[in-house]
Amino acid sequence: MSDALDGTRTMTLRVYRGAEGDPPRYDTFEVPFEDGASVLDAIVWIRGHRDPSVAFRYSCVNANACKECMVRVDGKIGYACTERLSPGTMTVEPLANKRLIRDLVTDIVPPKERLAGTE
């Protein structure tokens, strides 16, 4: 993908990668940065421009309505859609108190919303 960042203001986002049981690893992405942008903006940009395989759970876009995008940003729990990017380097990781599924996705589905098959 082209999408070069020449001349744009950027910041660096370190993203946790891997499924449950994998050794933890971090991928580092340089992403565009504008005043007021959210961590979700950066993750959406990474999935759209650098690596679509990054797993991330969200539904509403920056509206803080669906409440699905909770992660750890620099160790602090918050919604990716309302946590702001800042210049320099930030680290985004999955919630520590939920079972990891893959990358930034943890098991936040209520147990009664899981499908059990008949066979």
Partner: protein, 570 residues
């Protein structure tokens, strides 16, 4: 492969899907309610911030036939009047039911507060403060769904294909988002309640899962779509400065309560020059306001980011605080002080008037297949009134659930063979393990193409170019995309299925827009600026093999006059 069976399978758990689940369960049906996101968290309902139109008459005397008259007028001659009448007549029943379920409609002195939204003849729209209508509705319905034992919930279940056997809908093929496991659902009836297609436009107010899946599922099952050329653009979507943690359509409630002045780049009012009135009172219809803003920008009189100014600077701070309480603080976090600065707004894709063609029991032409909510086409004709979308989700959701339960009771079940999943699953699997990439770029290209060429102002030439490219994308580019073999939670694979649905829908919009060689409501052709009475017809689209075929139908009218209906109601 996992198998499960149910009486009524509901695809999509927004307002319409959850209401359908409750209604079907009340009829004694076993219900499986699925969403590819979380139940009651995704979709459009939760994004709604303000108005729900219903003639409950708490603020001033009203009757549902007045609501119907306003709805039909906004529809520019194309409303399926039978559906519109049901929407308006049953909206108050559903509003009161939601009230019993403690949604928390805003009240003063015991009566529901109703605001005057554009296109309505009077104060008709109920809401939940502050900017909380959608979240409150979603929470209430999640609660109603959870306490009914007949309803099984499935979060993270993406539906990829409706299964039709011997002309009857018998279930669906789905994929567990987390594990990637294929799930075969056997059902007596299926309800498509997965919303609209506004995600296909570069600028939209949609949540992630609004890429037209319901329409694509319906088409592939053999159902017809109707009025697909009519995409509603919300005139005052947020443009600048950067705002996060809020829905881009959030300025609407401010306008209902406080007016607010819409100004061009020269700080002058302009809507009156386009046949509307505004004057800080927010009465111009949505299509008129959108058109006016785009034209001002084209004429070089836009705001710095290419929209219009919306100013509340003349409203005293105390009034702002009273009307919006905690929201003022959320705006401050975004460095927005409405008392000091105007903000910039511009049109944004918001709602789809077109959709699945159904009868008054929400049945498609495929036996056993129903639709509900925004997925349904026809009730709003060529333009939707503010406040009709949530009402539609409730009313059509309830009906779809109720009639689907009856259908499931009456229908003889046919088993879904394992092979039903083969073709659709093979399409996605064929993309796995190739060089990863391509889907996000193709989606971006589609969104830009729809915005530029199939958007607010259209021409035949631009539409033809768009259609040609969309067909190429659907037959070619889509089949060259690579997806990394990642598991679990292979989001990229679901992105691909979303694009597969989105491209099919985009083609229906472009094709329908080409065929409608006139301007009407939300469909504005710059090359043919006038309405043509010969086009007071509904356009249908259906799939024949992989080819889309369009046709025309007379508009379903109601046979009695509004006056007769009113007299009968007294």
């Amino acid at each position: 492969m996992m198998r499960t069976s149910t009486d009524v399978f509901i695809v999509g758990a927004g307002g319409a899907g959850m209401y359908a689940a409750v209604a079907a369960a009340r009829e004694g049906a076993r219900v499986l309610l699925a969403d590819k996101s979380l139940i009651g968290r995704g979709g459009a309902t939760i994004m709604a911030q303000m108005t729900v139109a219903a003639a409950v008459g708490h603020e001033e005397p009203d009757h549902w036939t007045h609501h119907l008259a306003d709805t039909i007028e906004a529809g520019h001659g194309l409303c399926n009047e039978a559906l519109s009448a049901i929407l308006c007549e049953e909206a108050p029943i559903r509003i009161m039911e939601m009230d019993e379920w403690k949604v928390g409609w805003a009240r003063q002195r015991g009566r529901m507060t109703q605001v005057h939204a554009p296109g309505h003849g009077l104060r008709r729209c109920v809401y939940v403060d502050f900017l909380n209508t959608g979240p409150a509705v979603a929470r209430t319905l999640r609660g109603e769904v959870a306490q009914r034992p007949g309803i099984t919930r499935a979060s993270g279940l993406a539906v990829l294909e409706v299964v039709v056997a011997e002309g009857r809908c018998v279930g669906a093929v789905a994929m567990d988002v987390e594990s990637g496991e294929v799930v075969l659902v056997e059902a007596g009836a299926v309800v498509l309640a997965a919303g609209g297609l506004t995600r296909l436009y570069a600028r939209n107010s949609a949540s992630l899962n609004m890429a037209g899946e319901a329409y694509a599922l319906a088409l592939r099952a053999g159902a017809e779509l109707v009025d697909m050329e009519f995409v509603q653009f919300f005139p005052i979507g947020h443009l600048a400065p950067r705002l996060v943690g809020m829905d881009p359509i959030m300025w609407d409630p401010f306008r209902y309560k406080l007016g607010g002045r819409l100004l061009n780049g020269e700080l002058k009012e302009f809507i009156h020059r386009y046949g509307g009135t505004d004057e800080g009172r927010y009465t111009a219809r949505r299509d008129v306001a959108s058109h006016a803003i785009i034209k001002e920008v084209e004429a070089g009189r836009g705001s710095p980011h290419g929209g219009a100014w919306l100013s509340f600077e003349h409203i005293p701070e105390a009034e702002l605080k009273k009307a919006f309480g905690p929201v003022i603080g959320r705006l401050a976090k975004n460095s927005i002080d409405l008392g000091r600065n105007a903000i910039e707004v511009s049109p944004i894709a918001h709602y789809h008037m077109g959709g699945v063609r159904v009868d008054t029991e929400m049945r498609t032409r495929v036996p056993g297949l129903f639709a509900a909510g925004e997925a349904v086409g026809g009730a709003n004709g060529a333009t939707r009134l503010s406040g009709n979308a949530i009402s539609e989700a409730f009313v059509f959701g309830e009906r779809a659930g109720r009639f689907a339960a009856a259908e499931a009771r009456a229908a003889s079940r046919a088993p879904v063979p394992d092979s039903a999943a083969d073709a659709v699953i093979a399409e996605g699997r064929a993309r796995l393990g190739k060089q990863s990439g391509g889907a996000p770029a193709l989606m971006r290209e589609l969104q830009a193409l729809m915005w530029d060429k199939v958007g607010l102002l259209r021409t035949g030439a631009a539409l033809e170019a768009a259609l040609a490219r969309i067909r190429e994308m659907r037959a070619g580019d889509l089949r060259e995309i690579g997806i990394a073999e990642e598991a679990p939670f292979n989001q990229a694979l679901l992105d691909w299925y979303e694009l597969r649905a989105g491209l099919l829908c985009a083609e229906t919009v472009a094709l329908s827009a080409i065929n409608r060689t006139e301007s009407r409501g939300a469909h504005q052709r710059e090359d043919i600026p006038d309405a043509d009475p010969g086009f007071e017809r509904n356009q249908t689209v259906a799939l024949d093999g992989e080819e889309l075929v369009a046709g025309w139908r007379p508009v379903p009218r109601i046979s009695w006059t509004l006056e007769e209906k009113r007299a009968a109601a007294v």
